[in-house]
Subunit: 440 residues, 2 copies
């Protein structure tokens, strides 16, 4: 399996034109950033970096790919020859996966020849836009849940492969586990599951269903109690499982008041350690509203995998500097009024106050000596980019299960460092301002 | 590659419990439907059926799958033995891909043993929920565009594999082409592309970029004219390409007024056949607003792949009938107040008036003889379900490129048959009512 055709046709036709007019090998710098956070959001979360590096390892054009490109008339002979030998040999720096970001943060910087950088545009953006959108939503949900575990259960509400990526992104942003088995296998995530209404309906009655589940899975399982009548379901659950029942799940109705009633009933039946899991269209606001309810865990589906209203995060991949015909590296930028960009490679720093909290995102442009000098004078500035790929060599520590664990700790630390307002769920401005400084 | 782990853990634990208590082989009927259309939407579009059948062909548990399930402690020995031999041998009927639907329409009906049906839940819902959401948005866009072609360009705004599925769904709902190469290859779709700002910025100036593109791709290409100044860009484009230039693309600004100015400029330069392609956050409303502008094609990205505000369509997979312990097939339904369902297998019919337009969606329950009698008496009722899988044998005519073409024609015909109100973009009720009739 190659990943090279998960891309837009125009990348290959631009490559074809650039190979023909001699600009394909100009040294180029592309940056990935968002013009703005989604309306009202206070911070973003970088996710997908590990998946991007995994996909990059398979970014090559095999015989089947080349045959199709040729037959479809996408490229000419010269371009086919180039693609047959193609491997990305450039360099990629980026925010570590799990790091928070704000508007204009250069979350990824890709350098190399124009030819090798332009080919990655769609793949980079597909992965980062999707995964970061889910992670940003997940981070708000785990913020709202405070210490209660969140379980990712959204697979059925999104594309089957996006589901795997969404589970991974959710765990990076603090979810404890996922229902998705492939995500569990691929990234060594904890998988969890309860039971469905179908299992209860399959049996002649609820009693038989509960008995079957307890017999097979033991009393530590979670019984779904709302197929018919919740109070009767809870009574039956404890009748069948005893007071050591692991948990009950409520998937409908007014979850807050039901949780109170079910907790009271469980306690009165002596099942004080039986937990209550709630599911049913939860989002960060619903979770926050349940803070006072006796709920032990939240199962979140639809709103998580659809980014809680923002299913993509608007990242773009822009050429910010390139070698001109005279061999000089020059900043470049669009000047059309409605989508103007800022040229030149940015060096990103998170400036922290004496309270240890982030104060601003400082993006420096200018000569590297000046940037280094600024940094050495700014004791409280943390450099945000790290090397991910050096001259084509992928740093595998960011990939696989290890990459996910690293990203999850990074997110926890980065979020903890943000000003307290970051955890507010109401619409507002980004929690720290973006400051552009041109050092000349 | 198997698809069997693209699923939720609880399906396997329910299977385990059902195998243990003897209910796993009860004959069962599951239906896929939406409780409601997304708020304001007038109809839905079934999409993903072909992809589902393709995924079903790979739905088996290989040695790697089984080893992981065993090691992760998801299932016991008995279940592993069952899974090792598992192939779906049940029967699936459904609305043909591309067909329109409304609330409660049984878009898919899966029958077989509980064991084989329950395992498909997540895969079925992932595919249908995603693809149908994109197709519903696409259908509104192509409605609004009337005879002007729509080009799918959203790959960068969604998961890289979801992008392929989105391109496919868009074409089913009337898009003419896609920028996504893998979608072009996999489903034999027409791929198109223009050029990016990066290509212009790569060159020393716009003139050099245009010259390079024209030299490589010929004058029939599309030049992107808004990197610096649109009027200057258009003048340069015709200078370089001549009046036989294929098209110019505008990707920013007030597209309506810019299109008028650019059309006037192109005409005055003698480039009367040069087309104007517009892109930049288009959705069905923006497309409708551009109806009076001299635009020749719409490139649509973000809003298409995110379902234009409804990135998933809320389809559920519910057990509606099953064999009881006495061997009788019985309808089953949840009775909890907030998510009650309606038991029994539904037979779906689209009733048409004398004007040839759809009038209602009639869902029949009851004995098959009574259903057949109702149908033979209702001359104007079209049966909506067709066989897709019979005793495990997949009808491959619904898959691959042929399936996509069939689905696209089905969508065109089905939409044309809906009442005229179906094409209204404003929020409103479903365009035809759902009528439930129990024939006893």
């Amino acid at each position: 399996m190659t990943t090279s055709l998960l891309t837009d046709r125009y990348e290959l036709t631009m490559l074809r034109a650039a190979l023909a007019d001699g600009t394909a090998y100009r040294h180029s710098t592309f940056e990935v950033f968002t013009r703005n956070l989604p309306p009202g959001r206070r911070y973003g979360v970088v996710a997908g970096t590990g998946r991007l590096l995994e996909a990059l390892a398979d970014f090559r054009f095999d015989d089947d790919d080349l045959a199709w490109l040729s037959q479809a008339g996408v490229v000419d002979r010269t371009t086919l020859d180039f693609l047959a030998k193609f491997r990305f040999r450039g360099t990629i720096h980026g925010y570590p996966e799990g790091e928070t970001y704000v508007a204009a943060s250069p979350v990824l910087t890709v350098t190399g020849t124009f030819a090798e950088c332009v080919l990655l545009e769609t793949l980079v953006l597909s992965i980062l836009n999707h995964d970061s959108a889910v992670a940003a939503a997940a981070s708000r949900m785990t913020s709202a849940a405070v210490d209660r575990p969140c379980i990712e259960m959204g697979s059925r509400r999104t594309h089957e492969e996006a589901a795997v990526a969404a589970a991974r992104a959710a765990v990076i942003a603090g979810f404890g586990s996922t229902s998705n088995l492939e995500a569990g296998r691929r990234y060594d995530l904890e998988t969890t599951g309860t039971s469905a209404h179908a299992f209860t309906l399959l049996h002649d009655d609820e009693q038989a269903a509960f008995a079957g589940q307890i017999a097979a899975l033991g009393p530590q399982t979670t019984l779904l109690v709302d197929t018919y009548d919740v109070a009767a379901g809870v009574r039956r659950a404890i009748d069948v499982a005893g007071t050591s029942l692991g948990a009950v799940r409520i998937d409908s109705g007014d979850l807050g008041s039901l949780a109170v009633e079910v907790r009271r009933q469980l306690d009165s039946l002596g099942a004080r350690d039986t937990k209550i899991v709630v599911t049913s269209d939860l989002d960060e606001h619903a979770i926050a509203a349940l803070a006072v309810a006796p709920v032990d865990a939240y199962g979140v589906g639809t709103r998580l995998v659809t980014g809680s209203g923002h299913p993509t995060c608007g990242m773009v991949y822009k050429l910010v500097a390139r070698e001109a015909s005279n061999g000089m590296i020059e900043p470049v930028e669009k000047t059309s009024p409605s989508k103007a960009s800022r040229g030149g490679r940015k060096t990103a720093n998170r400036v922290t106050g004496i309270d240890g909290r982030s104060q601003s995102e400082v993006l420096l442009t200018g000569h590297e000596d000046a940037v280094a000098a600024w940094r050495s004078e700014s004791g409280q500035a943390r450099a945000l980019q790290v090397p991910l790929v050096l001259d084509g060599a992928i740093d595998s520590r960011w990939t696989g299960p290890y990459g996910v664990r690293t990203a999850a700790s990074r997110h926890e630390r980065s979020r903890a460092e943000l000003p307290r307002g970051a955890r507010r769920l109401s619409d507002g401005d980004p929690v720290i301002p973006t400051v552009n400084i041109d050092l000349g």
